[in-house]
């Protein structure tokens, strides 16, 4: 029996509709659990149904679902395709829901592989598929590593080490019960440690900036004085074909004016309701409020006019943004230079200054390049699995939190520690999966390096 796999099968961000494909024995059953509309278990094969994807009664997206029963499907298994309309954020959310309900995220090329293994595809294509799987997974691996580099993966590594020490201690108590000098782990002792681990996981979930960026987009604000060219920039970036305008309330807490996709990187323009109309957010909402916005944003684009000197207000804001991700645009390079660039350079990092002439379409490419570099996501481009990798990590992290809630229940019930340990070990393994470390012998090594045992 094959497990049921799911993945987004259209390139994310290109076109307004994304399709999630689900294949395997339980595909209809699983989709049905999150689908409000007709009972998919009862519908005819090769039919399309209108309805909503829901989570706890809350509507996530309005969808069309195609149900195709085996064997006349791409993979020769039961296949369901969900056409999502809500843009990247909701498509990812739907995928996450599927993963939470028993689907496994498909490996790169896995649908094709299944189609092949089930005899759907010509044998002669085997070699090509082999190449494909090889190259795709290698790329996926590099991306996964890149994506997780730095803070988050380090946090996971440290966390795993912490868990490993607890595990090794429990194991040594089991394998060497006669060693009286070794601390005997009890449920009372591990309880605070589990709390600590839980907090760490929650923190990773919250702080995983990269994850959030991929999942929700980069919260971006564009600010600057009136007539500096904010709306020109916005309109230039908002190439209507690529823009995904979402008006689904509740997907984020911030009001999203629009989403811009720059080579696969999603910019969420937050609280920019005023930009197009009054053209002066600072004036409209006041410095105080714009500071709040700056705090919330992942990216601040601050626009200056080449034709005007920097004033005190500018300096104040520049000082405020220089510890964040920011780009300072000097627009209107075609006008006379009245802005003291040396003075500006002394205030902020010169590398973050971009000269532009938006009306003449000069500097836009450099701005895009800069944004890509800034978020170290140049590898993301528009390949689907970058987003998937992340949905997967997040669903794994959520799974560990479910396990931890089981651990609390078991401790409360005073279940023997070696049973409680089963879930702790699983948390450790799952975290390993995120960063690609699942090496069983690690535990044995830890046992012998942490404790002195002998004959």
């Amino acid at each position: 029996m094959n497990d049921t796999i799911a993945a987004i099968s259209t390139s994310l961000g290109v076109g307004a509709i994304s399709i999630i494909r689900v294949s395997g024995d339980d595909s209809i059953k699983i989709v049905n659990t999150i689908f409000k509309g007709q009972n998919l278990n009862l519908v005819d094969s090769h039919t399309i149904h209108y309805g909503h994807i829901v989570e706890n009664e809350k509507i996530i997206d309005e969808v069309l679902v195609s149900v195709m029963r085996k064997p006349k499907t791409f993979t020769t298994e039961d296949v369901v395709e969900i056409n999502c309309h809500g843009g990247i954020t909701t498509t990812n959310k739907v995928l996450e829901l599927l993963l939470m309900n028993g689907c496994r995220l498909a490996e790169p090329g896995e649908f094709t592989k299944r189609a092949f293994l089930n005899g759907r595809i010509d044998l002669l294509e085997a070699e090509a598929i082999g190449d494909l799987i090889n190259s795709k997974s290698e790329k996926a691996r590099i991306i996964a590593i890149n994506q997780m580099q730095g803070k988050t993966s380090n946090m996971i590594r440290i966390l795993r080490k912490k868990i490993l020490e607890v595990l090794a201690n429990i194991e040594v108590n089991i394998d060497y019960p006669e060693y009286e000098d070794i601390l005997v782990m009890t449920n009372d002792i591990i309880l605070p440690k589990i709390k600590e681990i839980e907090n760490d996981i929650k923190e990773i979930l919250n702080n995983s900036e990269n994850g959030k960026i991929i999942k929700e987009g980069i919260k971006t604000i564009i600010i600057g004085r009136p007539n500096v060219g904010k709306s020109s920039l916005l309109n230039n970036l908002l190439d209507e074909e690529k823009a995904i305008v979402t008006d689904i309330a509740g997907t984020t807490r911030d009001i999203v004016e629009g989403q811009i996709l720059i080579d696969g990187i999603l910019l969420n323009l937050i609280d920019t309701a005023g930009i197009r109309k009054t053209d002066d957010i600072v004036e409209k909402i006041g410095v105080e409020k714009s500071y709040n916005l700056i705090e919330k944003a992942n990216l601040i684009i601050y626009m200056l006019n080449n034709n005007e000197e920097i004033n005190n207000e500018d300096i104040e804001i520049l000082n405020k943004i220089k510890n964040k991700n920011y780009i300072v645009i000097i627009n209107k390079m075609d006008l006379d230079n009245n802005l003291n660039i040396d003075k500006l350079s002394s205030l902020i990092d010169q590398n973050n200054i971009i000269m532009m002439c938006i009306n003449k379409n000069i500097g836009i490419d450099r701005l895009k390049e800069k944004i890509k570099n800034m978020f170290n996501l140049e590898k993301l481009e528009t390949e689907d699995y970058n987003f998937l990798t992340n949905a997967r990590s997040i669903s794994i992290l959520k799974e560990t939190l479910i396990l931890i809630s089981n651990i609390y229940i078991s401790i409360e019930k005073n279940i023997p520690i070696d049973m409680v340990e089963i879930d702790i070990k699983k948390v450790w393994e799952l975290l390993g999966e995120i960063i690609g470390e699942t090496y069983q012998d690690e535990l044995i090594n830890q046992l012998f390096s942490q404790f002195c045992l002998g004959k």
Partner: protein, 624 residues
């Protein structure tokens, strides 16, 4: 002379192997270097322990001898991890080093179809990569259809003390000097391993008042599912606990360069076990530890040797004297035997099939320390499996291969043939992924049917198992079908035993799920006509149902992959796109299933996908 099976070596592996073959009706010859050393325990005087004790139960369930023999021969027994869950409990006994081998020898002597011969084997007779027999030191040839090598630490054994190295086996026995060279000649990779043993002390020279006494359990236990206890609780002999002192540590640090392992000898290549380092290793590696725990274990009722567990060393004799005398209670102790380190040859276990038949020579099997393991129990279980599989092969039947979710024996053999060995391999509960399924208490339920199928469990013992299964089911049903209601007396009793009162009717089955309720409490509400063993099974299955279910689910995934077999004639060089490291590892291990392939370090899931595509293409392999 002609035999069906020849077993070379009379240690714990050899005993089980020869008994299994003979009991299955095959004319068997056991060749040992010294008949008096059959089933000898050259190191610690104990059988069982964490994980190992469960292995002894598994041996018993399959029809092996170790459990029965230990029940006849111990002077103390206890259940380890009593306060923990059922999954990690295991028996450990202090076996009498005189009685244990004596009882085993008697069993061997009485066994039909089994002959014992005292000789040293020097070479094998091999024709067309198939074993035909063995050649003795005096060049005599003995023929057979299968050979099982269980040579223990005797292959090119060197005993090392301080700066001296002597070519001899334990007890000054003659080692086997040529067999490992000859194995190399046939294409076996030979690795060198090392282990050690501590001093033996005259018990009359120890002041036990300075030690902490460690008694056996005050309830009866047996390893075997078929024996009644043969000992008296009050007659058990205690062990004693002491600790090393700062003086001990000072002596060791000052003399470190005299230890064979730390400069005394500079030609040591053997890799020692991580799990039982010598005392000098411990003091170097755990420099900040103020003291190390030592157990004084009696070796026998019939002589005075006390074994100092935890004090193994390769220091010269004069330093050993000082070390021993620095221990509390041992100030005036007399050393009867000095500690030593031993180096020996073993084969690379990656050259074995899961049946323990070698990949190089057909009908040749190896078991025990020659495969790189350590410990009597690890050896015995391999001997049993090698014996069973050599016999099955002669009978043209499929080998018995235990999976990782079926037995610790399965875990051990799979680790050997999939991961290989770098230092002597000891079983640990941590090595088992599904240890909740691999319990002490259910070894018979897991394995007896297999023992019956291979012919080592007789009809009577098999019927006993079927009765037990029926009883478990019956009690289970009884508990499901009977309810208690919130009467005053019921709730009074529940509060009395520290539980909470019930508001509605509840089945006894659900009541037993409460952590604070045990099966004996249930007896208050209903008559359960069964023995404690069966009630315990029922209780464990109900109480830990959630965890057991989870383990079964995980195990089912593993079994699914185990069932995807890889053809034996596969040529990995023909598979393009396979990463070179994966290709090399796959060629070395030659896994029999996709599941095994996945456990090889260096083979990643992408490699497995490519492998499966290749199998489909070349072998019309079904992805089921």
């Amino acid at each position: 002379m002609n035999y069906e099976v020849i077993v070379v070596g009379g240690g714990h592996a050899g005993c089980e192997a020869s008994l299994a073959c003979a009991r299955k009706g095959h004319k068997t010859l056991l060749i040992t270097g010294n008949i008096n050393n059959i089933a000898d325990m050259p190191c610690n005087p104990s059988i069982g322990g964490s994980a190992k004790g469960i292995v002894v139960r598994e041996i018993d369930a399959l029809g092996g001898e170790m459990g029965i023999n230990a029940d006849k021969s111990h002077i103390q027994i206890k259940m380890l991890n009593n306060a923990k869950g059922p999954a990690v409990q295991a028996l450990r006994c202090q076996a009498d080093k005189i009685t244990y081998p004596k009882n085993m020898r008697e069993t061997l002597n009485k066994q039909e179809n089994l002959e014992i011969k005292e000789a040293l084997v020097e070479d094998l007779i091999v024709e067309n990569n198939k074993i035909r027999g063995v050649i003795l030191e005096n060049k005599d040839k003995i023929y057979s259809n299968a050979v099982i090598l269980t040579t223990g630490t005797y292959l090119k054994a060197d005993i090392m003390v301080g700066d001296t190295r002597r070519r001899e086996g334990p007890h000054g026995e003659k080692p086997s000097n040529h067999l490992s060279d000859n194995l190399k000649k046939y294409g076996f990779k030979i690795i060198r391993l090392k282990t050690g043993t501590p001093q033996r002390i005259d018990k009359n020279t120890i002041d036990f008042s300075k030690t902490k006494v460690e008694y056996g359990d005050s309830i009866y236990h047996t390893f075997s599912f078929d024996t009644e206890p043969l000992y008296k609780i009050e007659e058990q002999v205690p062990c004693h606990l002491i600790y090393t002192t700062p003086v001990t540590h000072k002596i060791i640090k000052e003399n470190l360069n005299k230890s064979s392992m730390y400069g005394g000898l500079n030609d040591i290549t053997g890799v020692g076990p991580r799990y039982c380092p010598s005392i000098e290793d411990k003091i170097v590696r755990f420099a900040d530890k103020e003291r190390h725990q030592l157990f004084l274990e009696p070796e026998s009722l019939y002589y005075d040797d006390i074994y100092i567990q935890g004090f193994s060393t390769s220091m010269p004799h004069d330093v050993q004297e000082k070390m021993v005398h620095s221990l509390p209670g041992l100030e005036n102790a007399k050393i009867l035997k000095y500690a030593y380190a031993i180096e020996y040859d073993a084969i690379d276990s990656l050259q074995l099939k899961p049946s323990l038949e070698t990949k190089i020579i057909e009908n040749l099997y190896t078991a025990g320390q020659i495969n790189g393991t350590s410990g009597y129990e690890e050896a015995a279980c391999q001997g049993l499996i090698a014996g069973i599989n050599a016999s099955l092969k002669l009978e043209n039947k499929e080998p018995l291969i235990l999976k990782r979710n079926e037995a610790y024996i399965g875990v051990l053999i799979d680790d050997l043939i999939t991961k290989g060995v770098r230092d002597p391999y000891r079983l640990l509960t941590s090595r088992a992924e599904y240890r909740l399924l691999l319990r002490h208490d259910n070894a018979d339920l897991r394995l007896r049917k297999l023992g019956y199928k291979v012919g080592l469990i007789d009809e009577k013992r098999y019927q006993k198992l079927l009765d037990k299964e029926r009883d478990i089911e019956r009690i289970n049903e009884t508990l499901k079908n009977n309810k208690i209601t919130p009467k005053e007396e019921v709730n009074k009793y529940l509060i009395e035993i520290g539980s909470s009162p019930i508001k509605d009717g509840i089945t006894l089955y659900d009541l037993l799920k409460r952590p604070e309720i045990n099966i004996n409490h249930i007896k208050r509400f209903i008559y359960l006509s069964s023995n404690q063993d069966i009630l315990q099974q029922v209780e464990i299955n109900i109480k830990y149902a959630g965890y057991i279910e989870k383990a079964n689910r995980e195990a089912a995934k593993m079994v699914d992959l185990e069932n995807k077999k890889i053809p034996i004639d596969i040529d990995y060089d023909n598979i393009h796109n396979l990463a070179s490291e994966a290709k090399q590892k796959l060629k070395e291990v030659r896994p029999i299933s996709i599941g095994q392939a996945l456990r090889i370090s260096g083979v990643n899931p992408a490699d497995i996908s490519i492998l499966m595509i290749y199998l489909k293409k070349e072998y019309n392999y079904e992805h089921k």
